[in-house]
């Protein structure tokens, strides 16, 4: 009789493991950024639009917190989050850098003209190198970078007001003025 009890015991142990898995699963639906607590990768990229406008360097915001939003016109969820970004931009709390990822310049400019432009500045990452440096794996992604240039939070998926208030606004030091 003893060895026939083994299967049910093994099964119950497995069920326990699966239960823990289920409980943890909401945390696993998106990847945790490998850059949390590490300095944000430096970049210098061409700005969207007239080439004469030159490049933008990530050092420009040294000493103050800022937001990086990775997007593309080919991305459905980016369109979904766009109104939220516009509302966030109206709050004028933090500069938002738009990283136009693997996109076409004309499409991007048309999109911003049609839908509105929430970004303080838009840079073009047509080869995807900067996105890879940031560990981006799917648009849209939004990063909070603090005044020391350290990545403190990454949100994967369409931005919501709730996430903005909870994760981004909460991290703004009180001394920062818009």
């Amino acid at each position: 009789m003893n060895r026939f009890v083994l299967p049910v015991i093994i099964f119950l142990l497995l069920a326990g493991v699966l239960y823990v898995g289920v409980v943890h699963s909401p945390d696993k639906s998106t990847m945790v950024s490998a850059l949390l607590g590490k300095p944000a990768p430096a970049f210098e990229l061409r700005m969207l639009g007239d080439p004469a406008r030159g490049t933008f360097s990530s050092q420009r915001f040294a000493g103050r917190p800022w937001v990086l939003n990775v997007w593309g016109t080919w991305c459905a969820a980016c369109r979904d989050e766009h109104p939220v970004l516009l509302d966030i931009a109206k709050q004028n709390r933090l500069p938002i850098v738009g990283l136009d990822w693997r996109d076409d310049d004309e499409d991007a400019m048309r999109w911003l003209t049609q839908l509105g432009n929430p970004y303080t500045v838009v840079v073009v990452d047509s080869e995807g190198r900067t996105a890879i440096d940031f560990g981006v794996y799917g648009a849209p992604e939004t990063f909070f970078i603090d005044a020391e240039g350290v990545v403190q939070y990454r949100h994967v998926g369409a931005m919501t007001m709730e996430v903005w208030e909870r994760e981004f606004v909460g991290r703004i030091p009180h001394s920062v003025s818009p």
């Binding site: 026939f4 099964f11 699966l18 239960y19 898995g21 289920v22 943890h24 696993k28 459905a76």
Partner: protein, 651 residues
Amino acid sequence: MIPELGHFALILALVLTAAQAVFGLAGAHRRDDRWQAAVRPAVAGQFVLTSTAIGALVWSFVNFDFSVLYVASNSNSALPTFYRVAALWGAHEGSLLLWAWILSLWTLAVAVFSRNLPPTFASRVMGVLGIVSFGFLLFALVTSNPFERIIPSPADGRDLNPVLQDPALAIHPPLLYTGYVGFAVAYAFACAAMLEGKLDQTWARWTRPWTTIAWCFLSVGIALGSWWAYYELGWGGYWFWDPVENASFMPWLAGTALIHSLAVTEKRGLFKSWTLLLAILAFSLSLLGTFLVRSGVLVSVHSFAADPARGKFILWSLVVMIGGALTLYSLRAHTLKSNAGFEGTSRDAFLLYNNILLVIATVVVFIGTLAPLVNDALGMGSISIGQGWFTSIFPWIALGLVGLVAVGIHAAWKRGRLGESSRRIWLSLAIGLVLGAIVVYGAYGPGKWLSLVGIIFGLWLIASSLFDPIDRWRRKLTLSRAIVGMTIAHVGLGVCVIAISTVESYTVERDVALGPGETLALGRYAYRFEKIDPVEGPNYDGVRAQVTVLRDGQPVTVLYPEKRNYWVQRSTMTEAGIESRWNMDLFAALGEDLGAGRWSVRAQLRPLIDYVWLAAGLMALGGGIAASDRRYRLKNEATETAPAPNTAGAT
């Protein structure tokens, strides 16, 4: 109105499954003839109601009823009719309804074909199936109602995931589910036997055809999924050891062990507790697969939208159904010992080794799939297991299995007497060695040595399997369907091993940048990129390239790989251009637009790849033929070994 009708039908079906379960199990236990007589009508009623529910959902899809949330999420006004129907199982809620409907179909089949079984036994089988149905319908109604409305209804739907807009989609899930769910019948037969307290050779004979047919469907379902992934999902890959693929492979492995174990139990009355355990295991793995795909516990290419609430519900049903069956097992299995003996080289022994290896294979896939989960649950850090782990272990097990079949097929029951067949065994091995060496060194050139071994073993198996049937045929002896089916299935296994060994070693693959007029040379073949044109479909637009394939400088065919943008979901799909020749596939897929008319192209020559899926078809064909063997269709078996129905089911 129609969706509400469907919803109501589903609720009624739930009630009837409860009745089915109660009348079946309690009726058998109490020996109450009236209660037992109510079971089949309950089954029929449940089938009609579930069919009504699924019919209502199909109606909603075909008629563009976007007020139904599920339809709005998975369909679109531009979606062709064929896919509107197939969209039914495109996401969680609908596919769950499909599961429940297929289960009611299997239960109906059991009700119809079980009239020659002892009444209490049949009632118990249907009662257990009633419990399973109840669980699934409850799950659907409580957490995954496909008939939920969305008010106000959107003007148009979100479209079916473009990945799923493909003919193979229409057949893959239903066939796969028919396999998965079919193992519930074996599970029910096992539970009924445990409840009766009796399991004999007759029981095995009843259970075999049901199990074999479910296994056939599962084999075809898995093969279709692999084929579909080949030309739709990946970039010419056909198996990724993805958790969802593994979730279907594990029941198949356990199911294979089960049908072989049933053979021993039927013939010799041995391995009874093994067979029981395997029957529970096969269905448990089906249920586990369902859990893994829908609970968000594992990340995968095609897992459904994650929802922990659903995960917990399924987990509880798992505990009830599997835990319950295994508890029964722990109480009853010890009474099933038999005193028959066999030698180490007997057929019985070979089937034992075979089953041990299959169980090990199942364990390997299981560990590889669930290790990340286990490590996470036990706080041991996060790991990920990729293809490399599986491909370094699995081929060895497969070779072991093939070798066992090649030899064991000649072993006699009980006393082996392999000496009488040793000539055949050695001769088939010689054939394998010679042909294998010729094929590899003559035709393909040196490759991975493991592939050489695989090809030799596969050829050995085929030759070995064909010896006896051909011999019997020449001597005009009877060739039962059981033997014919078994031979075909084993030959299928050999073909599969040869095909996989070949394609893994001799695939030629290059990613290159090509512009119009530019050519890529691949051995005797060459791919010439002619041009690229815009293309438009009912719900997509994109580009289509024209690639001429040349052999020895002469054009032999043209491939048309496409890259499509589906408007509604704004996602991009690559449609490979594939031409299947008798001995290889010519494959081309578009990568990136590199500007100035140049594109990155993935070109592949895939030798023998179609035989991988053909082999699965052979295995299913063999199983089907074997399951239709005369002895399963004889009607008057009811009282052969069963004691008088009114004696208590003593152990």
